[in-house]
Symmetry: C2
Subunit: 496 residues, 2 copies
């Protein structure tokens, strides 16, 4: 065993470390279809946890789920292309609906479609077309619908979880009678994402609007949550768009108001994707592999029986099963403790390293000596792999939830401290250039105007304005590029 | 209001009645994309309930979820076409990966793919390709994976939920070291489906193998569950395939056995789809609309406040909220009672009919007079719309679970009785022809051999052998077509 389970380490080669963490934790792998990943059971279990928590939050905020077609008629995107600059172009296009076996044993696409279909890159157009039918009166509003779905955006340089041709996501699409209500919805869903990121994923995020050039095509305002990865780069972890009446006008989504006047709806859309798994990995994991915050962990703990003889084995296993039963009856964060006993007959060291690399928060080892002393050896994934604490078996059901809560909080605080240590306030364009020339660049809080001249300075640095923090202090100052007065600093960073 | 909420009635025009029930309950509608449906929130809520219960059952039987690509390289299907007669031909084919805006404002598909991609009609080939990589040794077996996904099979004559170009489903794919284990898995998952259908959907099913001509292409054995709809036709509600080593050989899924010998795996696949929603509708609904068994109902009950004056309204609403809180604390079938209060200020009659048509199992009305008497008027969806029982408010939390249990059981028994009344035992080909000439034909239990000669007789009648019931009695007899001795009767019917 090398000094660390993952090679290279983060310091040696961060992008390759990421790939190796994904591999060591068995989360996903490339598929034979270029750009498409296979999400393996260990990775999908993380997505299922995310779905369960988010879905509950969406429902608690009044949303319902529905399902819209995978395919979008080409004419819908043509309609959008007329109204919107920068609509999605890298799309999978379906042109035929049949396969016929040729004389040489090859399959030939036949049944050419009159109108090609596009595999949805996002669903504003197809959902909007339905809303135009469904919404007649103010009584039909608001419409608050979410969809869990797969989407496709052709990727030339795919990267597992972060950028793949097909990915899984949820997309909320809402329609409202007033601008104020739609704006409130946009902010509310950003809050849902921020709460989820910080409370459940232990990923601190900065919330705020994007500058014009970084908005979703057609949006009046795009709000995002931005997280810092351990290489100092930003990752956009979720977006919430206020679409104004732009899509409603393009798609004729109208309603009769209380006064009887015909008005266009105000719409929003918001989404997070399997990209969050990439954010989770890059925020918390270390040179021994994945580290998962307890709230999102498929298993909070794993119990490992340790024995040499058959006689030992029976006694140890019995104790493990007993402990498992008592732990399942305990709860953490409002849910039953998720624990399993791994009784496979393989080398103990292999097992331990498997769970280290998979990031299970707590390992509980029970051997004959522990049993004699009435204790278990408890190892936390957020501590060194050699560190362990002997805890009386009878106390574990009460102690484990506290340990998990402490880990969850500790991981969040560590990530906040890391981000703060890698954040600076800069006062000039020169400082910006110098800062982003450093290897340890992170987030720069800078006064910049929402102006193309700013992008022209940042582009060569491969830096973007991530957002204008909503929770940042009011602090007027002059744009370091244009000299124009702005109300507060923006956050600038390199980004995934 | 006509005599019934749905027009036409089942007796007048069964296929059109089905469409109207779907519309009245707001479950789904056709989309602008030919053959693709939009599953609306009321319909999707049914699918979510099905997913939640089935997913739990899959996990309890040792399965995990994963996600595989939407796209399948054409060469994979060519490979399959060499091995398998009757593989899927009506597929959506992706040939381009980019859209470019032409000078006339039209979008043009560009970026032609070297190899076309097929949108998955089912995932045996792409999942098998991954299994071939993942499985090396007997220690890697069994692999027990399920996927929740959308699939596409081009449909010329779509019918909402029953036959649509895109539909949602789950597909289990497992690999085993021995034939016996794979066969056991095939039967076990059929049992899971049958239990779910009968216990949760209250749909009685007949389990058994299909004749050779009705098997999944490439399967050694296809087991299905068959339900009878209210027009006497059969609906295949789930299938479980024993694939033998056919797919393993075509895809080179091999493992080193305990003895070190290289062997091909034995594989299975099994699935149910949004078609189950169609089965649910056609089994239980009546001429007033949808009827949903309590276990699968998104809401077990709805509370309707009834008042004329503002003063009444406040008192009644308070009582409703209090009742809601006490009902939520009660449980049915191991889950908290799902109940909501509908306080919308619209005509009471409209509300009542909305919930009748949506099939909410129990309506609980509270008006000033009820309040004065300390009771609620309880109306069951499985009884006449005028029938109601006054139940003391304090007793409802204890009574409602019993009412729901009685409804669940009653709906199942009613469906069994219907099926038995529409089932016959026939002894000759002539009887078959006469029976399926009748308007009220249903299931015919007949001795038939698994032989193409049988299909030749049944085809003109538009009848198929649904399955050879596993739980049917051993009852040897002569095939009514070939005269060959067979061990038991098959079930023959027209089918969806």
């Amino acid at each position: 065993m090398p000094a660390t389970a993952i090679s290279p380490t983060r310091a040696e080669d961060y992008p390759e470390w990421y790939q190796q963490v994904v591999r060591a934790a068995d989360l996903a792998e490339a598929s034979p279809v270029r750009g498409c990943m296979v999400i393996k059971p260990q990775g999908y279990a993380l997505w299922e946890r995310m779905q369960a928590i988010l879905d509950r939050m969406f429902k608690e905020t009044g949303h319902v789920n529905a399902y819209f077609p995978l395919f979008i008629p080409l004419s819908y995107l043509e309609q959008e292309a007329k109204h919107v600059e920068g609509f999605a172009k890298e799309c999978a296009v379906v042109t035929h609906h049949r396969l016929e076996l040729g004389p040489d044993g090859r399959l030939i696409p036949t049944g050419k479609l009159e109108e090609p279909l596009v595999v949805r890159p996002t669903s504003e157009t197809i959902i909007g077309a339905m809303y135009a039918k469904w919404i007649q009166s103010w009584r039909d509003l608001p419409v608050l619908i979410n969809q869990w779905a797969n989407v496709v955006r052709w990727e030339m340089r795919p990267r597992v979880f972060l950028r793949t041709t097909e990915f899984l996501w949820q997309e909320g699409h809402t329609a409202h009678a007033t601008r104020a209500e739609a704006e409130e919805e946009t902010r509310k869903m950003l809050e849902v994402y921020a709460t989820f990121a910080e409370r459940d994923l232990a990923i601190p995020v900065i919330k705020g609007p994007k500058p014009a050039g970084e908005r979703f095509p057609g949006a009046v305002d795009t709000l995002s949550i931005e997280a810092m990865m351990q290489d100092g780069k930003a990752l956009q972890a979720g977006t919430s768009h206020f679409l104004g009446q732009n899509f409603a006008k393009a798609q004729n989504i109208k309603f009769a108001s209380v006064s009887g006047a015909e008005e266009f709806c105000w719409t929003t859309s918001w989404g997070v994707s399997t990209r969050l798994i990439g954010a989770l990995i890059m925020t918390h994991s270390d040179d021994d592999g994945l580290v998962v915050p307890p709230r999102i962990a498929p298993h909070h703990a794993v119990i490992l029986p340790i024995s040499r003889t058959d006689e030992e084995r029976a006694a140890v296993l019995e104790a493990c099963r007993g402990l498992e039963a008592s732990l399942v009856a305990a709860s953490f964060a409002g849910e039953a403790i998720r624990v399993k006993t791994d009784a496979r007959d393989i080398r103990g060291g292999d097992k331990v390293w498997q769970y280290v690399k998979q990031g299970v928060p707590v390992r509980i080892e029970i051997g004959p000596r522990d049993l004699a002393a009435g204790v278990a050896s408890v190892c936390r994934r957020d501590r060194g792999t050699k560190e362990r604490e002997a805890i009386p078996l009878a106390e574990l059901p009460a102690r484990l939830p506290a340990i998990l809560a402490e880990m969850q909080q500790g991981m969040f605080e560590r990530a906040v401290a890391f981000r703060e240590a890698r954040s600076v306030r800069l006062g000039s364009a020169d400082e910006l250039t110098r800062y982003f020339g450093r290897d340890d660049a992170g987030f720069a809080w800078v006064h910049v105007a929402d102006d193309p001249a700013v992008a022209a300075v940042l582009d060569p640095l491969k830096v973007t304005v991530r957002c204008i923090p909503m929770d940042g202090p009011d602090e007027p100052g002059k744009c370091v590029v244009t000299g124009r007065e702005v109300g507060r600093r923006s956050v600038l960073a390199r980004a995934y």
